[in-house]
């Protein structure tokens, strides 16, 4: 022992200091999420998607690998998060002001807030292939005449119905007007069939009724106008609630629907899939969730658009729905848009063949094989107007208030007038 070793205390002090400084350095380390070409000319960008279930779970990585092998200078760092986890994480990331380069978006109110905060890239001038996509699919990402997102999926809500149960109640053609629908509900009840499955616990499936009724009674322009004037107390909106109340008063929903989830065991989709209810108002994903949660109704399953209301301003070809798209962080590398072009334009047939998405590219609907998807896609092609899901179109606080208030209306806790007042109050406060 020629050299004097450090005393034990000093050794511990030193090691403590080292550990601390290492952890501090890690904590303060800058997150280099890419965007700039590295020293070797390689462009790296981050891609956040919600493809945690099939078919996207295997399809998305397959497409990004194909893109990277075509472009050896580009590296994509993919993060896949479950839907709700994604929303929470994106909220946290957004408040820090640093979005990932390419991220999942549903357009509408949330995207508008991100745009207002100056966090999202304006794609209007570089997105030169937008004319290849259907106008309906782009609408959610067009805010104030500028385009901020690229759609990869689009869908709509309508009534999925059990043809067998309709026949049992003696109904031959699906209802075209609200009055006919109410009549059919009475017939179904008389035949001992639960007319409608509804997930009362989750609130968003209930808001479809009020939103569609508002579209049919007050009309699309009124919904868009209300978003800017922040006034939802117009007669058309009250009338929408009154019509919904007519339906609720018939007690058309399954027993204990207020506690029912959507995709959970015993929930709305399972009730519908197991043939315990005659119809549900749901998006294009309805049949596949029925299959997962209950059983596949197969050829017994049919689709009809939301009925019109006599004397209302809306038409049956105006659709209510939403899809999925990707937006770019302000200052994201331009290669990211090339990737989206590759994903959407060149892989559309792959996306459609996977039976998980609906066409956003013009004319691609002819590639669909599944009957249920075809009928939805055809309705979308024929659509004369489009309204994004209200809980996405409006700022989140307003959208959630619509869900909450309509749930209260369905449970008999609020009058149609009170619903419009609550929504207006939330809109003015948001």
């Amino acid at each position: 022992m020629a050299s004097i070793p450090p005393s034990r205390r000093r050794f511990l002090a030193l090691s403590g200091l080292t550990a601390l400084s290492v952890s501090m350095a890690a904590a303060c380390g800058v997150d280099d999420s890419g965007g700039k070409p590295g020293a070797d000319g390689k462009v790296t960008f981050a891609w956040w998607n919600i493809a945690t279930t099939e078919p996207g779970k295997s399809l998305f990585p397959e497409i990004s690998s194909a893109f990277m092998s075509d472009h050896p200078n580009i590296a994509i760092k993919t993060t896949s998060l479950e839907n709700e986890a994604f929303k929470s994480k994106l909220t946290a990331t957004t408040s820090s002001g640093k979005l990932p380069d390419v991220f999942q978006t549903w357009g509408g109110g949330v995207l508008q807030q991100q745009v207002d905060a100056g966090l999202v890239e304006d794609l209007t001038d570089v997105f030169d292939w937008s004319s290849d996509l259907t106008p309906v699919s782009l609408q959610a990402y067009q805010l104030g005449g500028r385009t901020y997102g690229v759609p990869y999926d689009i869908g709509m809500v309508g009534f999925w119905y059990n043809k067998k149960l309709f026949a049992k109640a003696g109904i031959t053609t699906p209802p075209a007007t609200w009055a006919e629908l109410l009549d059919d509900v009475r017939k179904l009840k008389a035949a001992g069939v639960t007319p409608i499955a509804l997930a009362g616990k989750e609130k968003w499936p209930g808001h479809y009724y009020w939103a569609y009724l508002a579209m049919r009674v007050a009309g699309l322009p009124a919904l868009q106008e209300a978003a800017t004037t922040k006034d939802f107390t117009g007669a058309g909106f009250v009338q929408a609630g009154v019509h919904l109340k007519e339906l609720v008063d018939l007690q058309p929903f399954q027993a204990a629907f207020l506690g029912a989830g959507y995709a959970t065991p015993g929930g709305q989709a399972a009730t519908m899939g197991n043939g315990k209810a005659a119809m549900e108002l749901m998006g294009q994903w309805g049949p596949s969730v029925q299959k997962d949660a209950g059983a596949d109704l197969g050829a017994d399953l049919g689709f009809f658009p939301f009925p019109t209301v006599d004397g209302g301003a809306g038409r049956a070809t105006e659709v209510f729905g939403g899809g999925g798209g990707f937006a770019l962080r302000k200052g994201a590398p331009k290669e990211a848009l090339d990737f989206l072009k590759f994903l959407v334009l060149e892989n559309e047939s792959k996306l459609l063949a996977s039976n998980g998405y609906l066409p956003v590219v013009k004319g691609a609907e002819s590639q669909l094989t599944d009957a249920n998807r075809k009928v939805v896609a055809d309705s979308l092609v024929k659509a004369t107007g489009f309204q994004l899901f209200l809980d996405q179109a409006y700022p989140p606080a307003v959208g959630q208030e619509v869900n909450d208030s309509v749930a209260d209306l369905i449970a008999g806790k609020k009058t149609p007038e009170q619903v419009t007042e609550s929504i207006t109050e939330a809109a003015k406060g948001a």
């Binding site: 022992m1 205390r9 002090a13 403590g16 550990a19 601390l20 952890s23 501090m24 904590a27 929303k87 929470s88 909220t91 957004t94 408040s95 002001g97 949330v110 807030q113 991100q114 207002d116 905060a117 100056g118 966090l119 009362g200 616990k201 989750e202 609130k203 399954q254 027993a255 204990a256 629907f257 207020l258 506690g259 029912a260 989830g261 959970t264 065991p265 015993g266 700022p395 989140p396 606080a397 959630q400 208030e401 749930a407 209260d408 449970a411 806790k413 948001a430």
Partner: protein, 331 residues
């Protein structure tokens, strides 16, 4: 092993070298004491940094955010003072949250704890297979909240659930399909799940307390002619006091902060009738993006917990926690 022996002696001599033969001078001992304080402080730094960054800083930020109207995006520049708080105490759902919190606290103390005490006393007897019973009753506590919640969602499933079958057999068809779906039954149902989940934990606490009661005292009591009830009432119960007080404390704090069970089973519904403060906070913060308002809720939740803990420790746990900060100097 000559080499190891030699190093050992070397170390020993090295350690032994600075030990003074005479008692140290006072100044030097003070210096030493300062030195040891410094090293204590040094070892505390990592824990303190974590505590500051992950506990104190978030509290400060939440209080600060609570004074703003802020959507979680962009600059926080809309200072509203106490507006979030006045809105809070005007909000029927939030006032309901407070009421429901109180409901759960009262039921926990009046139903769950006596029940846990009863089973603990029972399983403290010489009983065939008592270890098995103890394990069975404690097992639910080990399950995660989410697993429990999913399990009971299935049990209370309308139509096909076990609960519906059971009440059907008992001839109580009126209860079928209600459970979580009816605003008037959702809270009692929720409480049943809470008892199932947590009573085993309190039972374990009581069992541990019972083990600490010396058999001689109970024996002396019975020699003096005390019956079973008198022994329980006048010997066991007073000696179990510290355990009961801790149990009450944990029940109250647990009820105030209840989130995961409710979130998975009912999400606060139907129509807010099972919503708790923590659920309201989550709804506003992560669903409506009203982060300022949600922060105000979290501050109130925190204040209620803090004030309760301080008062409880100061006045109720005083004897049990001698030396605690809240003991007010007296021991």
């Amino acid at each position: 092993m000559p080499s190891s022996v030699s190093t050992e002696t070397e170390e020993r001599t090295e350690d032994a070298a600075p030990v003074p033969v005479h008692p140290p001078a006072p100044a030097r001992s003070l210096l030493r004491r300062w030195g040891s304080w410094a090293s204590v402080a040094w070892f505390l730094v990592p824990a303190l940094v974590l505590f500051l960054v992950f506990v104190l800083a978030p509290i400060v930020v939440a209080v600060y955010t609570g004074f703003f109207k802020w959507g979680g995006i962009g600059p926080m520049d809309d200072f509203v003072g106490f507006a979030n708080y006045t809105r809070l105490f005007d909000d029927q759902v939030f006032l309901g949250d407070l009421g429901r919190g109180l409901y759960l606290i009262v039921l926990s103390i009046t139903v769950q704890l006596p029940f846990a005490l009863f089973t603990a006393v029972l399983l403290n007897q010489r009983l065939r297979g008592r270890a098995v019973y103890r394990m069975l009753f404690f097992a639910p506590y080990i399950l995660s909240e989410v697993v429990t919640a999913v399990l009971f969602t299935m049990i209370f499933l309308p139509g096909d659930g076990m609960a519906d079958h059971l009440v059907g057999l008992l001839g109580l068809e009126g209860l079928q399909g209600r459970w979580f779906a009816d605003p008037s039954t959702v809270m009692p149902t929720l409480f049943v799940v809470m008892i199932w989940k947590y009573f085993g934990f309190h039972m374990m606490l009581f069992l541990a307390g019972l083990q600490g009661i010396p058999g001689e005292i109970l024996e002396a009591a019975s020699i003096d002619g005390a019956g079973a009830w008198q022994r329980f009432r006048h010997v066991t119960l007073p000696l179990l006091g510290p355990t009961i007080r801790i149990s009450v404390f944990l029940s109250v704090i647990g009820s105030i902060q209840l989130f995961d069970l409710v979130w998975v089973m009912t999400a606060g519904g139907p129509n807010h009738s099972s919503e708790t403060m923590a659920i309201s906070m989550f709804q506003f913060g992560f669903k409506r993006y009203q982060v300022g308002y949600a922060s105000a809720i979290s501050v109130v939740l925190f204040m209620i917990s803090l004030v309760f803990s301080l008062f409880y420790q100061r006045y109720v746990l005083r004897r049990d926690l001698s030396g605690a900060v809240t003991a007010g100097g007296g021991r």
